[in-house]
């Protein structure tokens, strides 16, 4: 079975996540080729054919252009699987390819069990295993779900590709992440507030615990989106990825995007009323309690030590 891996390039740089695509292909033991709209001066470390379009010519991500380039490669390579990362690039481009090829698309694969891709559904509370019934399948893999033991190695055989396709939307630039102020990636102790805090006033309980532990406070996405905590304290895929010695998740159910940003912490404590919350999967200790009752007591006892 032939697999085509779709690597990513943004703001003039190759995205290192391509190694996860290689890890997926290795796990499936399939013959793989790679596609990249990138730069010949910065090639992925990969043994196989690399179909390379020039990002300097085509500019930053343009869906119409990338779709055409990729469809041309699919026509040449005839892969059974086309694999993307489940990323802002992958989930944008993959459905376009699936529609054009009339192929099944399976999104956000976390594992392959008995030959069938498995995806998380319902805020990761459930899993679905899915069978494609088309000869060709478009897949996106969850960030971090597949990884190589070491660094990727090798040198690709480059095949230059090009197109005259032009798109109707234009990427005109980038806005950098706002990371001034606190840098959670350097904190040794982080106490984070999730949706379970219920209302903005309760964020103070989380802040108080963070202070009692001598750490920083953070938050999951819903709390930041609600404006209760500033964005530079958001932990997760679109915020900071943190690895403190102690991470305390207060009222955080454990959406995949949050787990990806904190699961490598040395010690994880979760405080949640729901014993079955996905955060329990990564927590060393799950305290089943209402944080509004539990946090003040814990903070007081810590202060009295």
């Amino acid at each position: 079975m032939k697999t085509l891996l779709v690597a990513e390039f943004r703001e003039g740089k190759l995205r290192a996540e391509y190694s996860q695509l290689i890890a997926f292909a290795q796990q499936q033991q399939t013959e793989a080729a790679m596609f990249l709209v990138g730069n010949a001066g910065e090639l992925p470390k990969f043994n196989g054919t690399l179909y390379l379009a020039d990002a300097a010519k085509h500019g930053e991500y343009n869906p119409t252009v990338h779709r055409q380039l990729l469809l041309d490669v699919v026509a040449t390579e005839q892969p059974a699987q086309i694999v993307f990362l489940h990323s802002s690039y992958g989930w944008d481009l993959a459905p376009r390819i699936a529609v054009a090829l009339q192929a099944a698309q399976i999104s956000e694969i976390i594992s392959v069990d008995n030959g069938l891709p498995v995806v998380p559904v319902c805020n990761a509370k459930l899993r679905r295993s899915i069978k494609s019934t088309t000869g060709r399948t478009v897949l996106t893999i969850q960030a971090g779900a597949f990884s190589l033991e070491g660094e990727p190695e090798g040198a690709p055989t480059v095949v230059a590709i090009d197109t005259d396709a032009a798109g109707r939307v234009q990427c005109t630039g980038y806005e950098a992440a706002k990371l001034e102020g606190v840098d959670l990636t350097k904190a040794e102790i982080i106490v984070s507030a999730g949706r379970g805090v219920g209302k903005p006033e309760n964020v103070a309980m989380v802040q108080a615990l963070a202070k009692a532990l001598g750490g920083e406070y953070g938050a999951s996405r819903p709390v930041v989106d609600a404006g209760w905590v500033e964005h530079n304290r958001q932990v997760g895929t679109t915020g900071s990825t943190v690895t403190p010695k102690l991470y305390v998740a207060c009222g955080i159910s454990g959406a995949i995007q949050h787990l990806a940003g904190m699961k490598k912490s040395d010690f994880i404590v979760a405080i949640n009323t729901d014993k079955d919350a996905p955060i329990g999967e990564v927590a060393n200790v799950l305290v089943v309690a209402d944080l509004k009752q539990f946090l003040p007591v814990l903070t007081e006892k810590l202060g009295a030590r």
Partner: protein, 258 residues
């Protein structure tokens, strides 16, 4: 401007899920239902655009069982003008391309300038339908937007796409276009009581789904609860004892209290 907003009704994610008899999806019984959170941002953005351009017409479309009309009513109470309910008892079993084909079939009969929808649903979470609708209609799509503005003089749409690590791509587009909305795009309003009353008088049309236009491309082999990964200690009991136990564990297992 003629605007379509595609919404989905999903279970409240805090619900206790059970697997259905076929083992292919969750059991619909005993769940609380609500508008897909991502779609609330889509509705809000459309309503804000209508505030900017009062001549706009906002149609909200939802595919699903009878109760899905409740989510349409919420969208109407938030400010949409009319609702269309494609009454499809089997929608939860349909794959993304099938749903997208139904939406595109509806949308191609009217020329919509902008189609807003959530970037994914909270239950299936495929993030495919919005883009597929655009591809089927042959119009551009910009996904995962966290900022939107429309320039009345030039007709230019400026959006910001959310990328990994918190950076954003600045993207310009023109109509017609499909925009898929990410959380945080705006602050969705709560319908006020007067607007809820007004919404009852708005047009809500129920139509039957067209016969399946696409062959199945995938099937669910199984739906199940993830295996509990052992190792994690679960503490239950009275609050003060829980706090003592946790402090003891932190002392033993971490250097946090050193």
């Amino acid at each position: 401007m003629n605007i379509l907003i595609c919404i989905k009704q999903v279970p409240d994610m805090e619900s206790k899920f059970k697997i259905n008899g076929e083992g292919t999806w969750y059991d619909r019984a005993d769940l609380a239902w609500r508008m897909n959170e991502y779609d609330e941002y889509a509705v809000e953005q459309a309503v804000r655009l209508k505030e900017q351009l009062p001549n706009s017409d906002l149609t909200v479309l939802c595919i699903g069982q009878d109760q899905a009309s409740e989510s349409i009513k919420k969208a109407l109470a938030m400010g949409c003008d009319k609702g269309v309910h494609i009454a499809d008892p089997d929608s939860s079993q349909r794959e993304p391309i099938a749903i997208a084909t139904m939406i595109a079939g509806f949308a191609k009969e009217e020329l919509f300038d902008i189609i807003f929808t959530g970037m994914q649903s909270q239950d299936r979470g495929s993030a495919q339908v919005g883009v597929m609708v655009a591809e089927l209609l042959g119009i551009p799509a910009v996904t995962t937007i966290v900022d939107f503005s429309y320039d009345e003089n030039t007709g230019a749409i400026q959006v910001k796409r959310e990328l990994e690590g918190g950076s954003k791509a600045l993207v310009t587009a023109t109509t017609p276009v499909v925009l898929t909305c990410q959380l945080g795009l705006n602050t969705p309003r709560y319908p006020t009581l007067p607007n809820i009353m007004k919404a009852k008088k708005k047009e809500l049309r129920t139509v039957l789904p067209a016969p399946a236009a696409v062959d199945a491309r995938q099937e669910t082999s199984a739906c199940y609860f993830p295996e509990k990964k052992g190792g994690g200690l679960v503490l239950e009991g009275e609050i003060p004892e829980l706090a003592d136990k946790l402090i003891q564990l932190l002392k033993e297992k971490t250097s946090a209290l050193a």
